[in-house]
Amino acid sequence: MQKTGGQLAMLVVINSLLLVAGALISGGTFLSVFNLQSMASQVPEIGLLAIGVMLAMCAGNGGIDLSGIALANLSGVLSAVIVSSFLSATESGAAFSLAFIAGALLVGFAGGVINGLLISRLNITPILCTLGTQMAFMGLAVVVSSGKAVTVGSPALLSSIGNDMIAAVPISFFVFVLVAGVVAALLKFTPYGLWLMLMGTNPKAAVYAGFPKNGVIIATYAISGTLSALVGVIIAARNVNVKFDYGSSYLLIAILIAVMAGVKPEGGYGRVICVVLSAIALQLMSSLLNFSGLSNFVRDFAWGLLLLTFLAVGRYDIAGFLSPGRRSQTPSVPVPQAPK
């Protein structure tokens, strides 16, 4: 656990460097209040998904949640379809918003529990299970919306979550920080957090120690599902429509954030604060690429490269690699090159 502080410090440094670089490249506009606000309102979606991925990874045994963004879209679409069948977004804005949020959270929770049950009770590998549910969730969203975008509109409460500020900070960002805080507290101060990490470290030992294995797995995926639902709500709040294929690249980005935050893909270690910082760093980078006027495809390319680079950083202790004394021990790092 001694590398805990290192990862955190590195992320803080990366964030500061990115801010400075942005300010230098753009001549100050990067740090304008407007730009900071717009970046802050984009972070929650990917950040919450990444926390879900982190939890699933921490559970170990190949744990991963690939169904996140599909479930987010499903909860948005399903809830929008159901709620707008008996409430009108324009007439009773607040009631619509509350019903929509409740519906979405319920769908997300249920989806997460399904994932958890399939993985813990039926022993399906998490990769396979969440691949299947990803497809099923997306398919269900297509079925209920007939493949079209569903209009949520901008009812009072919901649109303020997506667009309004408190003290010049977007509300959605507050929601993100608050939820991240709750999850972090859950991991730090409850038995659940301890069980989760120890189970990820050594599943077999955890079973013999009498941990409620199934309960922990179900809870993990249920939390991840609920986080996805929250993402669905934020998506609906920020956009007027919800659609089944929104954010198709979020799957990679969520995993990228988790890996960048030092979460171990084999389980047992991950910190929420690092995930939050790494989500912010990724958003800064994304905005920086935007500022330099590169196409979306270059960004995809950069994300792929970045993911592989951070995997390499995690694998080969970079600090040790940079100091010449230990260099001989480390095999040469296959720095991922652009394929030619």
Binding site: I64, L122, I127, L131, G132, A136, P265, D300, R315, P336
Partner: protein, 344 residues
């Protein structure tokens, strides 16, 4: 064909199972796939007899070539306990860059060389995958998600995004070359294209590698338990590089056939169909944790998915249901195979 080695050992240990069908299914999970396929075909044929027309069957055969090639690659990686989601990006990358290369620089390149170069290009990209998976020591899913974005991002940002509608003539000719041609009852000409042959050849090659070579043994051994395999002296590095290189080569081949068959090269194509292919392999009875599976099962799984995709409309289920149905099939199959496995 090859059931997992460990399974065979357990079987040889000789619990006398009275219920022989269950035993058979456990050793040959693809039996279920086959029965499911037959059941679906019978149901569809009863509901809509048009299904049994030669043109429909030939369409299914044609549609399964590209997916079948992908599936063979995924299967061989799955057998060794890994997973690959970058093969569609490899296929898109090789097919588009080959088409651009032939069109703008080497217009007279014979088709055989084009196919060979695409295959080798795919293999090279696959080897990058293999090296990364081996050296980074993280789940291959995460590595290949990264390389999928890397390859596709590189293709779209540096090679091109233009949809090529007019192929170089030799590639178009290859796509049209007939293997069998006959006239149907209503006078329409039905063609089973020549490129269909590639699938059985690749399937046989894969079967041969897995069952008749030391590499095949190494692959199943690594899939069963990588640590033990490496202590037995199998070089994990060689296995990884071979696996991903082979899967990449199949993906490159599939990509170029896809272009020739559709007579256009769309750089945005293919990526996004990975899950269907993985589903096919899993439905064919390969365990995602590795060490098991057969080539025959994989091909049956591919047929199952292709048939499912093409018959839903025939029996009156709207095409919007397709994803949901296939997703549910994956979960059902996964649950089924896992329960079987636990019972032994």
């Amino acid at each position: 064909m090859s059931v997992s080695r460990t399974d065979e050992l357990h079987g040889a240990a000789g619990q006398s199972r009275s219920f022989s069908f269950g035993e058979h299914v456990r050793r040959r999970p693809e039996t279920i796939t086959f029965l499911l396929l037959v059941a679906i075909c019978v149901i569809v044929a009863v509901v809509n007899p048009a299904f049994l027309q030669p043109s429909t069957l030939i369409d299914i055969g044609r549609a399964s070539v590209v997916m079948g090639l992908f599936a063979l690659g995924v299967f061989i990686i799955l057998a060794a306990g890994g997973i690959d989601v970058s093969f569609t990006a490899i296929a898109a990358f090789t097919m588009y860059s080959m088409t651009v290369l032939v069109q703008s620089y080497l217009p007279n390149l014979p088709i055989v060389v084009v196919i060979l170069m695409a295959t080798l290009g795919g293999a090279a990209l696959g080897i990058i995958n293999g090296l990364l998976v081996h050296h980074l020591k993280v789940p291959s899913l995460i590595v290949t998600i990264g390389t999928q974005y890397l390859f596709r991002g590189f293709l779209l940002s540096f090679i091109g995004t233009v949809w090529i509608m007019s192929l170089p003539p030799q590639m178009g000719a290859f796509g049209r070359m007939p293997l069998v041609q006959f006239e149907s009852a209503n006078g329409a000409l039905i063609t089973l294209p020549f490129y269909f042959l590639v699938l059985p050849i690749a399937a046989f090659g894969t079967w041969w590698i897995l069952n008749r070579t030391l590499m095949g043994r190494a692959i199943f051994a690594v899939g069963g338990n990588a640590d033990i395999a490496s202590r037995l002296g199998y070089s994990l590095r060689t296995v990884h590089v071979f696996l991903f290189g082979y899967a990449g080569a199949l993906a490159g081949l599939a990509g170029i056939i896809h272009v020739c068959a559709n007579r256009q090269a769309n750089p945005f194509d293919l990526v996004g169909t990975e899950i269907n292919v993985i589903a096919a392999v899993v439905l064919g009875g390969a365990r995602i944790t590795g060490g098991t599976g057969t080539v025959l099962g994989t091909l049956l799984g591919v047929l199952l998915i292709v048939v499912l995709n093409s018959v839903l409309v025939m029996v009156g289920i709207p095409s919007t249901w397709q994803r949901l149905v296939v997703g549910s099939f994956i979960l059902l199959a996964a649950a089924f195979f896992v329960t079987r496995q636990r019972k032994k």
